[in-house]
Symmetry: D2
Subunit: 294 residues, 4 copies
Amino acid sequence: MKRDITIGWIGTGVMGISMLGHLNKAGYECTTYTRTKSKADALLANGVKWADSPAEVAAVSDVIFTIVGFPKDVREVYFGENGILAKAKPGAVLVDMTTTEPSLAVEIYEAARAKGIQSVDAPVSGGDVGAKNGTLSIMAGGDKEAFDKVCPLFEIMGKQIVYQGEAGSGQHTKMCNQITIAGTKIGVCEALLYGHKAGLDLPTMLSSISGGAAGCWTLDNLAPRIVNRNFDPGFFVEHFIKDMGIALKEAEAMGLSLPGLALVKQLYLAVQAQGHGKLGTHSLTLALEKLSGL
Amino acid sequence: MKRDITIGWIGTGVMGISMLGHLNKAGYECTTYTRTKSKADALLANGVKWADSPAEVAAVSDVIFTIVGFPKDVREVYFGENGILAKAKPGAVLVDMTTTEPSLAVEIYEAARAKGIQSVDAPVSGGDVGAKNGTLSIMAGGDKEAFDKVCPLFEIMGKQIVYQGEAGSGQHTKMCNQITIAGTKIGVCEALLYGHKAGLDLPTMLSSISGGAAGCWTLDNLAPRIVNRNFDPGFFVEHFIKDMGIALKEAEAMGLSLPGLALVKQLYLAVQAQGHGKLGTHSLTLALEKLSGL
Amino acid sequence: MKRDITIGWIGTGVMGISMLGHLNKAGYECTTYTRTKSKADALLANGVKWADSPAEVAAVSDVIFTIVGFPKDVREVYFGENGILAKAKPGAVLVDMTTTEPSLAVEIYEAARAKGIQSVDAPVSGGDVGAKNGTLSIMAGGDKEAFDKVCPLFEIMGKQIVYQGEAGSGQHTKMCNQITIAGTKIGVCEALLYGHKAGLDLPTMLSSISGGAAGCWTLDNLAPRIVNRNFDPGFFVEHFIKDMGIALKEAEAMGLSLPGLALVKQLYLAVQAQGHGKLGTHSLTLALEKLSGL
Amino acid sequence: MKRDITIGWIGTGVMGISMLGHLNKAGYECTTYTRTKSKADALLANGVKWADSPAEVAAVSDVIFTIVGFPKDVREVYFGENGILAKAKPGAVLVDMTTTEPSLAVEIYEAARAKGIQSVDAPVSGGDVGAKNGTLSIMAGGDKEAFDKVCPLFEIMGKQIVYQGEAGSGQHTKMCNQITIAGTKIGVCEALLYGHKAGLDLPTMLSSISGGAAGCWTLDNLAPRIVNRNFDPGFFVEHFIKDMGIALKEAEAMGLSLPGLALVKQLYLAVQAQGHGKLGTHSLTLALEKLSGL
């Protein structure tokens, strides 16, 4: 894929702004649209072009990336009156990097195919830091051929790029990621609460358990923040709730009972109900503390 | 601590046999007792001496280690008619490396102190492999002075040796370890089940998620075994149930609600009820599969 | 309300067939549409008229009742191309007796009001037996004036008719009903399992506990069926799952964490995954038994 | 059984005081011991005799009843130095009405039998009101012959007297009662919380659902108290926690997974941790409210 292809980008939130920045810096001609134009100001100042709708972005782009908020936003961006599918060119490749419903990814894939357009679902993990440093993990689904076309672009944004299979597989893989995280979160937060109540020195406790069978990213990266009472978001509680909701809905449709995930989701709803939806996922601790009257 | 001190060792199960082996090899004079004498045969052949009861071991040892099964076994070994406390010498140091109740560790500590004996609770993590390779994580509680005395011996058995504080702190730290593991287990097993149902290629899925925020020891070490349907134990389901039971009991006594741990424990009771108590902890998968009719 | 008003009825499943039968017998002119016409045969033989769509039913009716399956069916019946709202007459009253989303009830209410039509949400409890005997409990929401108009018709179908408040209140009340039932079901099924394992004679056990603080409808009516291994449906597992899903979704939207309901729903998903979606709700027992390897 | 038999009674808490009162009034010669003598003052003023220990009560009684607090209290009262078994007469019948461990009931039964004494476990339900009005439900285990001997005495204290089978069966039946109650409590409390958030008028809502499939004692008796924010105890949170703990322990020993009960117990631990251990069981509501930030 040469630099003569043009790139469209919808969504310049905390993740998108860095990701598009990397592509722009790499020399691609980029056109963007985002709901709040001011969020794209820095990019526009660096040569990214503006278009007035997703459709207008699609009209001038060979590959169109999207990374927005909720499934309904994705739906609007693709299927809305001024959505991508209204004006995308045959031969284009659409890449949704939002974490969204696998079934929606399949829907986009099929609507695109009917118009001679290819579609890849490619959610990411790695957060704002990974987006900034170009070290995201990208999990992709769709036709292998389409994946191969956009893979060089993924490599500009991430480090761990894996083709997972047919349409929706990227999203399903992201769900596996989130389900695992739900477990590590409840484990780490309950352990810290126990340690606190038992009178342990928490950093010392962590030094004993982090390197062994209890070891996990959450223990290494978020437990120290909990100890320091820093609940700033790496990843928002309310986005995690959205993701767990998708996973539970898909699991239900597939005939799966996931009692652990269901419990953790309810506890996160408590975190949100207590007013902490914009804090980081490690603020699960706050709901557990309140539960035990701390 | 010089090699002129004598070592006593109670319990030569899969862990104890390797740990005592390291001390013996290091040149210490060691005396052992274990419930099933044949389990100590290899050690006895290598110069370890035999004594007919915990009390007899204690009578001839400066430092007495124990690593047995359940809290009631610990109680018997220390407080029984032929238990350690019946014959341990003033100035001796007792070191219980069994994972047991923090409150029992305190009880031993106090009973020992009344006789001018020191006591350290020092449960480990790292499993049979860690025991064999001398790479255990050892989490110790008790008087710092007593810890300092036995620390050189710990260094022969483990790599991560951490003094956690007063009596019981080693056990409490181990509970933090097990609580965290309970969370990672449910997360990983539910994620794999979801991935399986979604039709993902599981090793490919794992390659996407293992390196990021979902990363954990369980994902690295046990998920591949689950994929290969190898449920051989690193750590027995029934021992994990014991540990979770201790954590929940202590939490209750401290006024803590731990809904995640309580759920995971019930699911492990299901694993055991289904006949898999002697399989590894990753066989949580089996109960989740049965739940969803797989 | 005199018998000169005309009644429309959409949905002649196991509940609807009895309910419409009562109205027909009471002398009202009734017109019906249902997806599978043969289900209405007996009614048509008794003088009920047929129309070819919800719209056609609405065109000739003063009060239109609906009782169909899932929220998406309700949506189709009201908002579809040939839906009720396409042809309902100004001044008509629409009464949805399906258990559905409170937010959908409000949506219907507002769409109707915009056309000068009144709307009442009026889900029921009491099952097929209550429908047959005219002893349903009917919980109604909407404008009081509209409720008053249709109340005489409700009285033909039920015994406990209660106006609950503004649009959606009937559905919300039904959700309270289902949430309570979720709790009684898990309580009764776990108790019976415990009693069975403890070797109790279950009918004797029930005779001790049914009359006291544990007393509940489920204990009186379903526990004996469980004892006799009769899992025939009073109420389908799959419909109960739908209802719990609605309650959890509404609770999430209102900022409520309901851990008990979430757990019970997952256990019912297990019942369904095990192939028992068409059995009665007391077959929760079957999933609990499988969990414990029975 | 004639009035020439003598009765011993240990434990004059809120239940015991009424129960012994009935026996005394019925003309039996009664001797009592209780930890806090002042609690027995009213009874002593009415002719009940005092003895200085359980053993002294047993020494002068044909039938000895006990109703104390926790399993450890039962153990002390029967097996302690001045316990019942130290001085009970051959031919005596011991009746423990405390809710306690079924396995402890079996232990008492066997220790008694070894001395030619009979033993009946006979926990009750019905609370202080049932004790006062003589309308308790009494669930009894032990030899049928022993039950028959004391049945006339039970009939003075209760209304629903049922022989459940061998030693421990009374306790097991009580556990079935408590497990069921755990379910009804979470169901009712979550339903009320939902109704509150949905803006329903709670008494009106209750009038719709109490009479149908959601109907239960908790809904009839405790829901109105919750609505009125009256959390006075019928039954203490901390005693219910004890009972659920016994049930979970026995279930574990029998190889049963009870996820519903385990969750409810953790939520009650939260109630207690929040400082409400001496409130009634319907204060589960308080923990659920706090969870959702209300």
